[in-house]
């Protein structure tokens, strides 16, 4: 009896070892479960830093002021509600939840007028992104990712290049011929995330009830975190505010 006991402990120990070493390699901590009573979080990410005041130019009505044009891709926020565009909201350290669906229709990043469109996308690991070139001239797409294999590919007019991103990482895309052009791909290892729209709104649904840390990432403003309790079948509204510059 004692022997079996010791053996089972040893076995459990071995299993733990196996799992943890596999974890390091596969990086996959997320497991899928049924979420029959998931809650929804909707919210708004706001920018209230110094430039927000400058951005609101009463004399020019709702027109874009020059400052916001200047900072165009780096910091885009709505002048109506200060909502911040291109921020990625996600649940931090979520270990189980709804099924991950890898989009069968590949998200697209297009190069148009020497710029990447859209500027920021968030995807779940395993997603393939299609890169297009809509300009009648040569571009290249250059990444320096470490976990996902980096690449630097030249593209010509109407060319389509597909790349799959398998590991969670924040990846910057650049074009060496047009130094001002860049874009971001945020790869996450679970399906609970959203990219804010031009008014800073996001929505994340089917979250298993519980308390989680929500995280926002923005290329210029960095990270913000907030603890939020998700209640079954309820919608909770939250707000993130960046007050620095």
């Amino acid at each position: 009896m004692k022997l079996i006991y010791i053996l089972s402990i040893l076995f459990a120990f071995l299993c733990c070892n196996l799992i943890s070493s596999k974890d390091i390699l596969a990086d996959n901590k997320y497991s899928e479960i049924e979420v029959p009573d998931g809650g929804t979080i909707i919210g708004n990410v706001k920018y209230m830093g110094e430039l927000a005041a400058v951005g609101l130019n009463l004399y020019r009505g709702w027109e874009l002021s020059d400052t916001s044009k200047l900072n165009s891709e780096k910091l885009v926020f709505s002048k109506v509600n200060n909502g911040l565009k291109n921020a990625v909201v996600s649940l931090k350290d979520i270990t189980q939840g709804k099924k991950t669906i890898i989009p069968p229709v590949h998200p697209i990043i297009d190069q148009q007028n020497n710029n990447f469109i859209p500027h920021t996308i968030a995807i779940v690991s395993g997603t393939t992104v299609d890169f297009l070139n809509g300009d009648e001239q040569m571009h290249n797409i250059h990444t320096r990712s470490a976990r996902n294999q980096p690449f630097n590919l030249g593209t010509t007019y109407k060319q389509r290049i597909s790349k799959t991103f398998d590991y969670p990482e924040i990846i910057k895309l650049t074009c060496d011929l047009h130094k001002n052009a860049y874009a971001w791909i945020v790869v996450l290892d679970h399906p609970y995330f959203d990219t804010t729209d031009r008014n800073g709104y996001f929505e994340i649904c089917d979250i298993p009830p519980g308390t989680y840390t929500f995280q926002v990432w923005h290329e210029e403003l960095g990270n913000l975190e907030k603890e939020v309790t998700v209640r079954p079948k309820e919608t909770t509204t939250i707000e993130f505010v960046y007050s620095q510059n």
Partner: protein, 260 residues
């Protein structure tokens, strides 16, 4: 095709290119199997690295050895696994043979000499040491080398075709300049992944860093130079077009300037 179709100016270069390419193709598999590259870090490897490589590449392979300070191009920082001269696709790690090739032939126009003063055993022994500096080799494997088709003949038509690709289709001139002097409109602002300024290669010098054979040139723009702005043009061209572009690029070599 008859010799008279060859352009006088480039005929010689292309002829040497084709013969050396043919030679390369025939000897490549032999050298690959002839050298026995160890998979584990050995004492010999560590000693050789410390003595001959670390003054430039640094004790931990960060490219920050005591001699590196005022050097440009900088000695390679091995920690990212970004190698310029490969037979593998863009972004991929190099094969062991690729690394061996660079160590044996050196990198012209830089302080990286051909390490033929070392024995073959010493040269192969440092390869696992270089790889151990980068996590990339633990999490990824090199992709399969790209296939290089049989060389086309460097005819006048091939050169015209190559010129079209260089100037119109892929716009190489934006970085390398119309005459290939590395002075295109985008040349001045280029920097590598480590933040150091880098010049698009001046083809007129003829001393290609990755080797002077047609196959070498073919491989450089097909696989790109990892860690630099030089992209890979993997999908844009057929094999035939690649040879045309290769010959055109080689036709930009100015023999007078090579002699200097």
């Amino acid at each position: 095709m008859k010799p008279k179709v060859l352009l006088d100016k480039v005929g010689f270069w292309c002829a040497t290119a084709v013969t050396s390419a043919a030679l390369m193709l025939s000897i490549a598999p032999m050298t690959a199997s002839a050298v026995n590259i160890p998979t584990e870090v050995t004492e010999l490897g560590k000693d050789t690295y410390k003595k001959y490589c670390s003054p430039c590449h640094g004790e931990e392979g960060k490219g920050d050895g005591p001699l590196a300070r005022s050097m440009l191009p900088k000695p390679r920082d091995f920690t990212r696994g970004a190698y310029k001269f490969r037979t593998t696709p863009s972004g991929s790690l190099p094969t062991d043979e690729d690394i061996y090739r660079t160590i044996s032939y050196g990198v012209p126009n830089s302080t990286m000499i051909p390490w033929d003063i070392l024995t073959e055993e010493q040269r192969v022994s440092v390869i696992p040491v270089l790889k151990s500096f980068s996590e990339a080799f633990e999490v990824r494997k090199p992709d399969a080398p790209v296939t290089v088709g049989l060389p086309l003949r460097p005819t006048e038509r091939a050169l015209t075709e190559g010129k079209k690709i260089y100037e119109e289709k892929l716009e190489c001139w934006k970085c390398h300049g119309v005459e290939g002097r590395g002075d295109g409109p985008s040349a001045a602002e280029q920097e590598d992944d480590f933040g150091f300024p880098i010049k698009p290669f001046d083809f007129t010098t003829g001393k290609f860093k990755g080797g002077n054979s047609a196959q070498d040139v073919y491989l450089r723009f097909t696989t790109g130079l990892n860690g630099t702005p030089m992209p890979s043009f993997a999908k844009e061209l057929t094999d035939e077009e690649r040879w045309c572009l290769t010959y055109y690029v080689m036709s930009l070599i100015k023999p007078e300037e090579t002699k200097k």
